[in-house]
Symmetry: C2
Amino acid sequence: MNIAAPRSATTPANDVRVPGDTRQRILDVAQMSVLEKGFSATSIEEIIAAVGITKSGFFYHFADKGELARALLERYIEREKILFDDLFARADELSEDPLHSFLIALKLFAEMFENLQQSHPGCLTAAYCYQDRLFDRGVRELNAAGMMSWRRRFQERLERIARRYPPRMAVDLADVADMFSALADGGIILSKTLEEPQALSRQTLLYREFVRALFLGAPASA
Amino acid sequence: MNIAAPRSATTPANDVRVPGDTRQRILDVAQMSVLEKGFSATSIEEIIAAVGITKSGFFYHFADKGELARALLERYIEREKILFDDLFARADELSEDPLHSFLIALKLFAEMFENLQQSHPGCLTAAYCYQDRLFDRGVRELNAAGMMSWRRRFQERLERIARRYPPRMAVDLADVADMFSALADGGIILSKTLEEPQALSRQTLLYREFVRALFLGAPASA
DNA sequence: TGTACATCAGTGAACGCGCGTTCACTGATGTAC
DNA sequence: TGTACATCAGTGAACGCGCGTTCACTGATGTAC
């Protein structure tokens, strides 16, 4: 879900060597390529050309290409967690009510997506899902665990809301939690395929409408 | 969106040569592989081994690998259109009211997905979207056109509904149309990643709840 | 009914390129004593 | 403060394999006359 890596934040002035910097640059370049062409079409040759090291330099950082896949996903999941924790925390500061805080958070997500001028670069989880026979069990399980933790985090909030606002529809809150991931992944696919950057934020706002109708009801007339 | 090719329906008794059969078998094998490993990891070598022809046999049917990509997507879009036209037609027979027919159609979709015992094999549109730098302009435009025709078909039905049932929320019906594609693609990613085949039908039913609340309102109390 | 030719659906062998991986080596920096 | 050694972050050259593509050829079926 997160946007292109904030290079300028971690990269100091000209050609100053920062420990761990080359590894991060490899991951940055690889991630963009994986999201545009898929993992197997992302060649090490192409990565090192963009980063400006030799092939052996790559293999100093990663034992093999599978290690790159794992590192990419680990970093992606970690960054996403930080990003969403941060947005939820900001929303929690703005309202103590669990429903209103949740609705604020969804608005913040939508605004974040709205500010993209190009289409969202893509979700690694979705990309890996459509190439999963390329990866070993560990990577596939990591991907599934990442999705499960999303479900739990949203479900927990939804249940806190439901205690105060009895749901107006007979739905499973785990499914409603998953619905956010589904709409985010589906919204990314929409915006990438149609080249309509705004599609993602619009789907996020529709999810917000659904949550509102679920807990507050839809007004009798428009 | 459609399920694995119904081989038995088109394949006659033992080793009887049917015109066009080899080409279809190539496409069947290739599609499964593309959905599991991506296009560039799907080698011609592997396809011909599964189909039981030589490499030259493959190149008799397709000028190059790009032609395979195009043929795969064309067939996929065509099959999906037939499948959904059929389900909508059945729903239209069951109710003359545009809203109720739409709700019936969504229930039929959910039931179709529910009967999958494994996870849905995947959506070619989504797979291509995450590898789009591999394809030429023509294929990318075909993919976008496919998505656009989805939007139009759903939007048309939603607008017919809105004339009879004024919407209870201020939403753009084109976005609500897109929401189905987004939830379908996202639901497939959920069910594949988590190995929960039912996730897709559940998201379809949530979309149905949303449409119902949009046009009929959510009841005052559960 | 027979012959000539065309088309269909492939076969078999070879090609060169790019891929991921390995291995021995190196120059700069850090640490122990 | 000097020396020895270790670690870090790479270099350079070579490897073999599998990939997509090409080309000349073929045997079975269809069509014209």
